[in-house]
């Protein structure tokens, strides 16, 4: 297996993207086949690389320490495999879902281009190729959102681009600082104490990673995209790819590049960011009326768990965060796909209009339920395991307040999914939607596969933990404590597990109370929480995007531009345009008045001139 093979995961999808773009609309089947074949090949090589574990491809590129350096090691091979997996599921799903979409060819091209960039970013071992592939995703992000075709998708695409662009630029600044501190751009050689300038670099790069993952301050484009962008995009990028890449980089930052100390200021910062993201996002999710927006807020909230996990800087917590990353990718993608399947058949995802679809769409219903339970952290599923590890990590790190925030998040997550599940699948049938059949197999199969994986990773969690997560932490265990998470993963007879189960029961009661209070209408189950005195006000403000940093940011940008334009540019132009010309005319007018054509005047000047000249010469001659 020559090092050159490392180029394959980048070049194959890129080439395929070009081909897919070129294939005329009529040859749709050929296109689908090609896409699936390409994804399959990528998956195969994902496994091959995973088995291979170590490979390095390094060729000089721009000089000055910048060379095209790709490195395969256990962490990147794991992410590569995961990316390939999701790619094939999404491609399969899209062959049907995007069948009659106007710009389907572009969609497939962007999907594979994203895959190429993502693979490149994961494999990169020099910061410049990393940034090159990392920011390349911006282009496809913009392209994919505009495919939504709704009038506001252009605006949302720009919003997503600006937010991600801002984060990527701050990451560039972070990398620049890191380069000056560490002296080298090769990622594998960088390992710096995060103090002083390096701390600033850490924060900036963390912003980059969190921005990509969609954490709190940079998340506002995801809910808008949920409505404006195609659902396949939501399942593909915000649910799976972005989370994987974002948390991969966050892990590498806090593990490889900087030696993050548990309990240090930066770890607390991360934990605060995580906790805040969990709580606020889930509260927003609870009151959503549209299934896709609800799921998108959950995507943001779940990232909070991962950041909290990594933020604890405790091996147990970090492992929990990483495991939660892959688990979340699976069940979130599943949830979005099932929402897509519902939308495919019924044409809408409004909770009010939907109801009792479990009889007509049993498989989607089953898939949705399994994933919903997984995300809520119900026992034996993978969500439970990774959440437990995050809870343990949070407690072990000494700051119980973050654990409590996590638990609160768990409560509302389960409450909102009860509401969603109940109103979409388990309530009684509403008349607005005609009779519907189950979606085609190409849509249902990916959902079921993901549901199965959730069950597999939950029940037999030893496999992913030892195979994927453990090697990542191998190099970083300080306390020498044997990294054995698997021993008490599934036992529920310990205080932490009991508390989480208590939370679930609490959520169920909350849902039942809401359900009964609103006269058996499942989609209003969250009203009691929604109508709390102060909270109600906050919700309205949030819906009006008051807290949306992007909207405020754009207003600030526009204000600043206006100030710069009016206070600096126009005055300078005024000086050139008016002041100089008017001054010239004024001075000339004075002089011209002196030329009135009288001979006597002219003679007078001559005499005056003579006197002055004579005086000057005699004075100066002395």
């Amino acid at each position: 297996m020559t090092p050159k093979m490392l180029l394959l995961p980048i070049l194959l999808p890129a080439a395929l993207a070009v081909v897919l773009l070129v294939i005329p609309r009529t040859l749709r089947l050929v296109r689908n086949a090609l896409a699936l074949a390409g994804a399959a090949v990528l998956l195969y090589y994902g496994f091959v690389f995973f088995a291979l574990k170590d490979l390095r491809f390094n060729v000089p590129w721009l000089g000055m320490g910048i060379d095209f350096d790709l490195r395969l090691y256990h962490f990147s091979s794991f992410i590569l495999l995961a990316l390939a997996g999701f790619l094939i599921l999404i491609t399969l799903y899209s062959t049907v879902k995007m069948k009659d979409a106007p710009r389907a060819r572009e969609f497939f091209a962007y999907v594979f281009l994203t895959a190429a960039f993502a693979n490149g970013a994961v494999l990169a071992n020099n910061f410049v190729p990393l940034v090159f592939f990392w920011e390349g995703l911006l282009v496809t992000l913009y392209g994919l959102i505009t495919i939504g075709g709704r009038p506001t998708s252009g605006r949302t695409a720009v919003k997503a681009l600006l937010i991600s662009g801002f984060c990527d630029f701050s990451m560039i600044l972070g990398i620049g600082l890191l380069w000056t501190v560490s002296g080298t751009l090769t990622m594998s050689q960088v390992s710096v104490e995060p103090t002083g300038l390096a701390a600033v670099a850490f924060v900036l790069m963390m912003i980059g990673a969190a921005g990509k993952a969609g954490a709190m301050p940079f998340h506002t484009w995801i809910p808008d995209a949920a409505v404006d962008a195609p659902v396949t995009f939501m399942a593909f990028l915000p649910a799976a790819f972005e989370k994987l890449l974002g948390i991969y980089l966050l892990a590498r930052i806090s593990l490889d590049f900087f030696k993050l100390r548990p309990g240090s200021g930066l770890s607390v910062l991360l934990m605060v960011l995580g906790a805040v993201t969990i709580v606020l996002a889930v509260l927003m999710a609870l009151v959503q009326k549209d299934l896709k927006r609800l799921l998108s807020y959950h995507a943001v909230s779940q990232v909070g768990y991962m950041i909290l996990g990594i933020g604890t800087a405790v091996p147990f917590g970090i492992a929990g965060g990483l495991f939660h990353m892959i688990n979340h990718a699976m069940y979130k993608c599943g949830l979005f796909l099932s929402a897509g399947s519902v939308e495919h058949r019924t044409g809408t995802t409004e909770l009010k209009k939907l109801g009792g679809l479990r009889k007509e769409m049993p498989l989607t219903a089953f898939g949705f339920t399994v994933c919903a339970l997984a995300i809520s952290g119900v026992w034996p599923l993978n969500g439970f395991v990774s959440k437990e590890m995050v809870f343990h990590g949070a407690l072990e790190s000494g700051y119980t307040v973050f654990a409590i925030a996590a638990w609160v998040g768990a409560i509302f997550t389960f409450a909102s999914f009860l509401k969603a599940g109940h109103s979409v699948f388990f309530g009684e049938r509403t008349r607005e939607i005609p009779a519907v059949k189950e979606s085609q197999p190409a849509i249902v199969v990916p959902i079921l596969v993901l549901a199965a994986l959730c069950i597999l990773f939950g029940v037999y969690n030893k496999l992913p933990l030892t195979l994927f997560i453990q090697p990542i932490l191998a190099g970083h265990v300080e306390a020498g404590a044997h990294l054995d998470f698997t021993s008490h993963a599934l036992d529920i007879f310990n205080p932490v597990a009991l508390i989480s189960i208590g939370c679930l029961v609490l959520a169920f009661l909350l849902h039942r109370h809401g359900f009964l209070k609103s006269g058996r209408k499942p989609y209003l189950a969250s009203e009691p929480v929604h109508n709390l005195p102060v909270v109600h006000k906050l919700y309205d403000l949030a819906e009006a995007r008051v807290f949306d940093p992007y909207e405020q940011g754009v207003k600030v940008l526009h204000g600043l531009s206006l100030v710069l334009y009016k206070a600096v540019d126009r005055p300078i132009d005024f000086v050139f345009e008016k002041v100089v010309t008017v001054a010239g005319e004024k001075f000339t007018a004075i002089l011209r008045k002196a030329h009135n054509g009288h001979y006597a005047n002219y003679l007078a000047w001559c005499l005056a001139g003579l006197i002055i000249v004579a005086g000057a010469i005699s004075l100066l001659a002395k």
Binding site: T588, L591, Y599, C606, S618, L619, L620
Partner: protein, 493 residues
């Protein structure tokens, strides 16, 4: 045979009115232009290798016995002769067509040649009184030529010009008398030698003050400039070209430079006065030009401003400064002659001199517009034309001789100069065609030929500036840089 420069034009001028009786137009044109062409060729070719070995002195003899006509030709006077011949020829070519509707062409050419003869005589004179006399010759001819159009404002302008010049020459005469009184002789060499021994600083100071007033008025420096903005615009175009291009330089700057540098010797006091006068006229005239509505008045003020540059250059006194000043004198003669000729073509084509009425003439008169552009950019000092090099040398000399303030003023004035030339371009040629001039045709053949001749000269000198400087400007500058010794040593008769 350098007397030819004076004698030939006079003789031709003498016979011209008689010839004029015979054929009204063809022969006078031919004769005048042939004379000037001969002078040009004579100056350009034979002149150069004459002065190769230092100044040429000629003591004439009338049928055997020596006559007190002493002429001296050195680098500086040869440069002036060349300039006179060049611009004179161009103006003469131009007037073939332009003077058609004025009538009395033979008289016009006669006066023109007398003026040329006067200027040539002044340049070759070796005696203070001769300088005064030949200046009068050129002046009288120019009074008549300015009033040639016989219009009301032409007569008034000519009259004012005459009266002011008379005052100026009176003061020059006083100064000549003072010098004669002090040194007992009028010959440059003798006066220079005598002044060296006499340390009558104050008297020389007063004499140079009077000279400065007289020649200043002739050169139209600011306090004494008032006659020029009236005289030049009302004169017929070729005449204002020769006036602005040559007369103010020969009878003003040449005489002042020759006397101050070669006879009196440039004292620091005189140098500062000259430089400040130059700078003053540079700035004030530029501002005045900015406000003009009449094309030729703007060009007249621009002449005052550029003569200010020349005087500033020469006033520095360093060899480089003098070279810069002389080079600018030469370039300005060509470029300003060109501009006045183009204004003549425009006036003849549209019948007006008012810039606001003109508009987009470039469409109908492309060659005139192009040549005007070349002239304007050359004077504004925009490379690669000749004006740029001379201004550059002046500014370098200013900075090197420790006058940064003057250098900044010179630089800012060249920006101002460009401003009003752009104003002229925009109003006259570069804008949209004013429908009034839709029927306007390009100027007749000889007029465009003259302007193209001068324009090519401007561009040629701009590109081959190094050979021009070494062959023509450097010898002249060396003569002046030697100061009094140039005259004492080699001019003794």
């Amino acid at each position: 045979m350098i007397i030819l420069f004076v004698a030939l034009p006079l003789v031709v001028a003498g016979i011209l009115p008689l010839v004029g009786k015979v054929s009204r137009r063809v022969v006078p044109d031919l004769l005048a232009n042939a004379a000037l062409l001969f002078l040009l060729v004579y100056a350009a070719i034979t002149g150069r290798h004459l002065i190769a070995g230092g100044p040429v002195l000629q003591q004439l003899s009338w049928f055997g016995e020596p006559v007190a006509i002493r002429l001296a030709l050195d680098g500086f006077s040869l440069l002036m002769l060349l300039a006179i011949a060049l611009v004179g020829l161009a103006a003469c070519l131009f007037s073939i067509d332009y003077m058609e509707h004025y009538g009395a062409k033979a008289n016009y050419y006669a006066l023109f040649l007398v003026m040329i003869a006067g200027m040539n005589g002044l340049v070759l004179a070796t005696d203070l009184f001769n300088v005064y006399l030949f200046m009068e010759v050129a002046a009288v001819a120019s009074y008549a030529l300015v009033a040639f159009g016989l219009g009301r404002d032409e007569l008034e302008a000519a009259f004012k010009y005459l009266l002011l010049s008379v005052v100026a020459t009176a003061f020059i005469l006083i100064s000549v008398a003072v010098i004669f009184g002090m040194t007992g002789s009028l010959d440059f060499a003798a006066v220079a030698k005598a002044l060296q021994e006499l340390n009558a600083g104050a008297a020389v100071g007063v004499a140079s003050a009077f000279f400065l007033m007289g020649f200043g008025l002739k050169a139209a420096l600011i306090p004494f400039h008032a006659w020029l903005p009236d005289a030049h615009p009302s004169a017929p175009a070729p005449i204002s070209a020769v006036l602005s291009g040559l007369l103010i330089k020969v009878s003003g700057v040449y005489a002042m430079t020759r006397i101050f540098l070669n006879v009196f010797g440039l004292t620091p006091a005189l140098s500062t006065v000259l430089m400040s006068l130059g700078a003053l006229s540079m700035v004030v005239a530029a501002f005045l030009a900015l406000g003009q509505k009449d094309m030729k008045r703007m060009l007249a003020y621009s002449s005052i401003s550029q003569v200010g540059y020349v005087v500033l250059g020469i006033g520095i006194g360093t060899p480089l400064g003098i070279a810069g000043g002389l080079f600018h004198l030469f370039n300005h003669a060509l470029a300003k002659g060109l501009l006045f000729l183009t204004s003549g073509s425009v006036q003849q084509a549209t019948g007006t001199r008012d810039l606001d009425e003109m508009g987009g003439l470039a469409k109908r008169m492309p060659i005139t517009a192009a040549t005007n552009l070349v002239g304007a950019l050359s004077i504004a000092g925009v490379p690669p034309l000749n004006g740029f090099w001379s201004k550059l040398i002046i500014i370098i000399a200013l900075v090197q001789s420790g006058h940064p303030v003057f250098a900044v003023i010179a630089v800012l004035t060249s920006v101002l100069t460009l401003w009003y030339y752009l104003l002229m371009q925009r109003k006259a040629f570069f804008g949209k065609l004013n429908e009034k001039w839709a029927a306007v045709k390009e100027a007749p053949f000889w007029m465009t030929a003259a302007t193209v001749f001068l324009a090519l000269l401007c561009v040629g000198i701009g590109i081959l500036f190094s050979s021009t400087v070494t062959t023509w400007i450097q010898p002249a500058a060396d003569v002046l840089a030697d100061g009094v010794h140039a005259v004492i040593g080699s001019w003794g008769f």
